[in-house]
């Protein structure tokens, strides 16, 4: 790919991405009343999307591999437990991430 082709490709990708970001706002402009169905979706989509994003992050976990997905499962339990116990955002996230980083290093040694 030449440098010009490279820039065209980047520009086209920017265009596609920007389009998906702006489309809802271009269709439902501020002057217009938002239809009831769209308002309803605006209320119910986000909780479902957070579920989708969690699964998206976990999409490559291999439950049949060497570690049976244990680092992910255990760290997720740690995140949830810390959240339910202490609430807040940073503690559960830091705890879960540190736990995960330790587990992916230690588990292979322990399981041999």
């Amino acid at each position: 790919m030449s440098i010009i082709q490279m820039f065209i490709t980047i520009a086209v990708v920017v265009l596609g991405t920007v389009l998906t970001r702006f489309l809802p706002y271009m269709v439902f402009t501020e002057g217009r009343e938002i239809p009831m169905t769209v308002k309803y979706l605006g209320r119910v989509l986000a909780p479902a999307v957070f579920g989708l994003l969690v699964i998206y992050c976990l999409r490559n976990v291999n439950f049949t591999g060497d570690m049976f997905g244990l680092p992910d499962i255990i760290s997720l339990i740690v995140v949830a437990a810390l959240y339910i116990w202490k609430r807040g955002m940073l503690l559960p996230m830091a705890g879960g991430t540190v736990c995960y980083m330790i587990l992916i290093r230690m588990l292979p040694l322990v399981m041999q």
């Binding site: 790919m1 490279m6 065209i8 490709t9 980047i10 086209v12 990708v13 920017v14 265009l15 596609g16 991405t17 998906t20 970001r21 702006f22 809802p24 706002y25 439902f28 501020e30 002057g31 769209v38 308002k39 309803y40 979706l41 605006g42 209320r43 119910v44 989509l45 986000a46 909780p47 479902a48 999307v49 957070f50 579920g51 989708l52 994003l53 969690v54 699964i55 998206y56 992050c57 999409r59 490559n60 760290s75 997720l76 995140v79 949830a80 959240y83 339910i84 202490k86 609430r87 807040g88 955002m89 940073l90 559960p92 996230m93 879960g96 991430t97 995960y100 980083m101 992916i104 290093r105």
Partner: protein, 298 residues
Amino acid sequence: MKSNRTSDGTERAGESGRTAVISGQDDKRGALRAMKTAFPKTIPVMTGYIFLGITYGMLMATSGFPGWLPALTALIIYTGSMEFLMVSILLSSFNPLSAFATAVMVGARHLFYGISMLGKYRNMGWKKFYLIYTTSDETFSVNYSADIPDYVDRSWFYFWVSLLDQMYWVAGSAAGGFFGSLITINLDGLDFVMTAMFVVIFLQQWMQDGTKLRSLFRDHICELTGIAGSVLCLVIFGPDHFMIPSMIVILAVLLIFRKPMEKAGYTLEHDTSASDHSENAEISGEGLSNNGNGGDDI
């Protein structure tokens, strides 16, 4: 975009008793206060973005691209998943149409973010364009779920979260592109911070929608649909192609169950621009109030 409302975001403060007449200096002070509130909420994103950005920059650099390219694409594309794909797209033969189609498909989830933020991003004035342009998974999640205190200007809060997040991503990508080869510490697994963040936001939403076991299904149709629909599509379509099918399943289920869900209390007022905050405040007794002191935990 209508920009004839001069003190856009601050005008919102009028709802909670203040008048809408706000001088330039007050606006500056408001902006500063909003930044102080916004910054702690972006710390998790900072960790994840800088790490992932470095990974992206290194990947680009080791694929033979110049060091500035990751920073540029980070700034103007600003979608992590698309940028990682970008590496292979730029390495293959020139095909703008397929690149465009890929970008639209990968970005399709932004449509959901847009619909969810339609109400919240109303009357944001000049900031609105930037807020929409920088809607990423993480920025959307933080801005959507944030319980913004009454004394903080919402438009500035959203603006700072968006700007800081984008800066983290660009800084990480630039660092990876230019200095990636110098990094020798093993940071494997740090990307779990992003997973953890979505899990926490998911739990937050869950608690906010009710904690009674008795009405588990009634209270959490949305969350359960999101999880079950995605898992189902992941199993059927595999990790690389399950996002769009999942979105279609989620959309279909939520539309089919609209009547019963509205009866169950998924009121429409919740997400209209004016009333969502006061309603949040009512619900938040337990779930969201903790959100506010998140910064004290570390």
